[in-house]
Symmetry: C2
Subunit: 265 residues, 2 copies
């Protein structure tokens, strides 16, 4: 990896970028995954590179939904494997859920490498190498799914997922928890619970929320979900972005008028 | 390239992405360039993937500045070479300016490939293969510049440039025209004229503006520049982004309240 001083103001963002470059070089991540990472960087920048109050609320609801699931499953793609592999293993243990490798640009070699990485980090059950089912409405290898994993799960966690796949899972009447930095993406709008946050912050936050909720009873988890409205939360995220951008722009260009005046003299 | 139907609502954006992937595969573009492309996609999305009124004003000022230049020069990096190589040659002819290959992650092989591509498209003068000067304040190969090109230019056009290099050129008292999709980037804030627009739209627009301005006299070009204030233009771009986002969010979540009400019953 390129050396980055941890005093750098954008250290976390630059480290994430290096992890993706390393993922591509190691054959975990597709070239297209780098463009997705770049888009994510820009959207995170709009959020102020922080977990917003709406993201916290969504994360808490997601933890409740995953704790209440009968057959949860967690999807892992090439960017997720490059960015937070250990975190995904921790989530799998927290929610007693299989990890299923699920690639947009599927190659058997990449699936095998990602599965091996997750196992080396202690994942109890990794699926995706021998899919035995198809998700209706998706084409070719993008439809692949595994019985005992995503295919017959009641709740699926899909970090950094494509809109088509998210929509197809929702049509199967699954509850879908998405992690996505763009509140306007199809994935964000289709999911049952959308965490609009950087995956590097969302995953530990989800583990933490599950630990906190475990201190209370399932009745409380159910009440959280009854009160939760994903559209209200996304609207709140939109406001958080607008407010942040507005303050950034105001700060940057506050002396615009003065500069303009000075030029007149 | 992957087949993309030109009826696709985001055809231009997807084609640009394919051009960058092709650029990486052909050795024109660095892996890191793909992340930059992804960031650009996200910022273009915020602009509404259109040339805004402020971008048009900046483009006109940029054309005037380049027409008035005594020794203009145009910088070309790996993303620019992948995205708009023919457009850069057209700009070189329009403004009678050399193209100088100038890479953030410099390798001699990439410089040679980009120079060969530009020459094959008819570029009259391509520099950058044998830099003979250093730009003060930059490290190692990032400081390389060529006499007769960027090093002693009075006006430099830098599309998709890094903030450090932009700042170093401004410190050399050059006039700098930047093309950059992030109005808050250091490049945008440091440049003399910043065109906040997608390079695929900005380059033909700049050629068109130069042709239009050529019908009037240099006195008019100078008056355009006297009236131009880059900070005012950037603030206007910021407002255009906020207005666009606000309308997108409102459109998307307009029925939020209704949905919320329905859930209460």
């Amino acid at each position: 990896m390129t050396e980055i001083p941890n005093s750098h103001p954008r250290y976390e963002s630059l480290m994430a970028r290096e992890r993706i470059v390393k993922g591509v070089k190691e054959g975990l991540t597709s070239l297209q995954g780098m463009i997705a990472q770049g888009r994510g960087e820009a959207f995170d920048y709009l959020l102020g590179e922080r977990t917003t109050p709406s993201a916290n609320a969504a994360t808490k609801a997601a933890a409740a939904m995953l704790l209440l699931a009968k057959r949860p499953a967690i999807s892992v793609n090439g960017n997720v494997a490059a960015l937070v592999p250990a975190g995904m293993v921790e989530l799998a243990k927290t929610f007693n859920a299989p990890l299923e490798v699920n690639l947009f640009h599927r190659t058997e070699e990449r699936v095998a490498k990602i599965a091996a990485l997750l196992r080396s980090l202690g994942a109890p059950l990794v699926l995706g190498e021998r899919p035995d089912q198809h998700i209706p409405g998706l084409e070719h290898s993008r439809a692949f799914a595994t019985r005992g994993g995503i295919f017959d799960a009641d709740v699926v966690l899909i970090p950094l997922e494509d809109g088509d796949r998210c929509e197809a899972l929702v049509k199967m009447e699954k509850k879908v928890v998405a992690i996505d930095l763009n509140p306007l993406s199809r994935t964000s709008r289709m999911a049952t619970v959308t965490i609009v946050d950087n995956i590097a912050r969302a995953v530990p936050n989800l583990v933490f929320s599950a630990a906190e909720l475990s201190k209370s009873r399932p009745e409380y988890w159910r009440s959280l979900l009854r009160e939760y409205d994903n559209n209200v939360i996304l609207r709140q995220t939109a406001d958080e972005i607008l407010n942040h951008l507005n303050s950034q722009f105001s700060q940057q260009f506050s002396n615009t008028q003065n500069i303009f005046m000075q030029r007149e003299h």
